[in-house]
């Protein structure tokens, strides 16, 4: 099964209002420091980058480390400038890549 993402954008916003965006995605975020039952280290497998664009312009970017909890959750703010599309991209170890979009309606 592919990674499941859950995005939260306020349903209706007013022009110029600062809104909170929440992004949650399923991913083990294996730190690379855990030891498995056979005594060997479980290899690192994390999301390393996350970026959000708003009608094509980047509004937020994050570099994640192994210290970010499994099923990483990120919340950040942006000014509701105009209606359009928020695009989310996650990438990381082992060629992991996921994208998600959400509409933002600005009155």
């Amino acid at each position: 099964m592919t990674a499941r993402a859950l995005i939260s954008v306020p349903p209706k916003t007013k022009r110029g209002e600062v809104v909170e965006i929440k992004a949650l995605i399923s991913h083990p975020m294996e730190s690379g420091y855990r030891v498995g039952p056979n005594g060997t280290r479980i290899p690192r497998d994390i999301i390393r980058e996350f970026a959000c664009t708003y009608n094509g312009e980047e509004i937020f970017r994050a570099e994640l480390s192994p210290a970010i909890a499994a099923n990483p959750f990120l919340s950040f703010c942006t000014i509701a400038t105009e209606s359009g599309t928020l695009a989310f991209r996650w990438s990381g170890d082992n060629g992991f890549a996921a994208t998600e979009t959400a509409e933002i309606t600005v009155e």
């Binding site: 210290a67 959750f73 950040f76």
Partner: protein, 120 residues
């Protein structure tokens, strides 16, 4: 952790203030500790937070997360969940558009659940 902070701020001075770091002081499980950072800034094109960096003291690696912000953020705020290997200090550093660095820190105690799982 100090080296990681030095790598972020270079020769600049690390000032206390403007940054609010919200993290529970006593954590039930170090696997998912909610953390939020907010920075007092107008977030205007002339005066805004460029980046927020979070570092830790006792995990195998000092870096926790680095985020890039700009005037479009409206408010300099970040929330996430982190892993803490042990009771330790967390430091959040805000990098401002004028090249200054501001920080706040918090001490966290990490407890663990009583009945541990048998890894099969």
């Amino acid at each position: 952790m100090q080296e990681a902070i030095r790598a972020i701020i270079g020769e600049a001075e690390l000032r206390q203030g403007k940054v609010a770091l919200d993290i529970p002081s006593l954590v039930e499980n170090g696997n998912a500790v909610p953390l939020s950072v907010s920075v007092d800034s107008p977030m205007s094109p002339a005066d805004h937070v460029k980046a927020i960096h979070v570092v830790n003291e006792k995990n195998p690696q000092p870096r926790v997360i680095s985020v890039a912000l700009g005037p479009r953020a409206g408010r300099a705020r970040l929330a996430t969940r982190i892993k803490l290997a042990d009771s330790q200090k967390i430091v959040a550093v805000a990098e401002m558009s004028d090249g200054s660095f501001w920080s706040a820190s918090a001490d966290v105690i990490v407890t663990l659940a009583a009945c541990v799982e048998d890894l099969q």
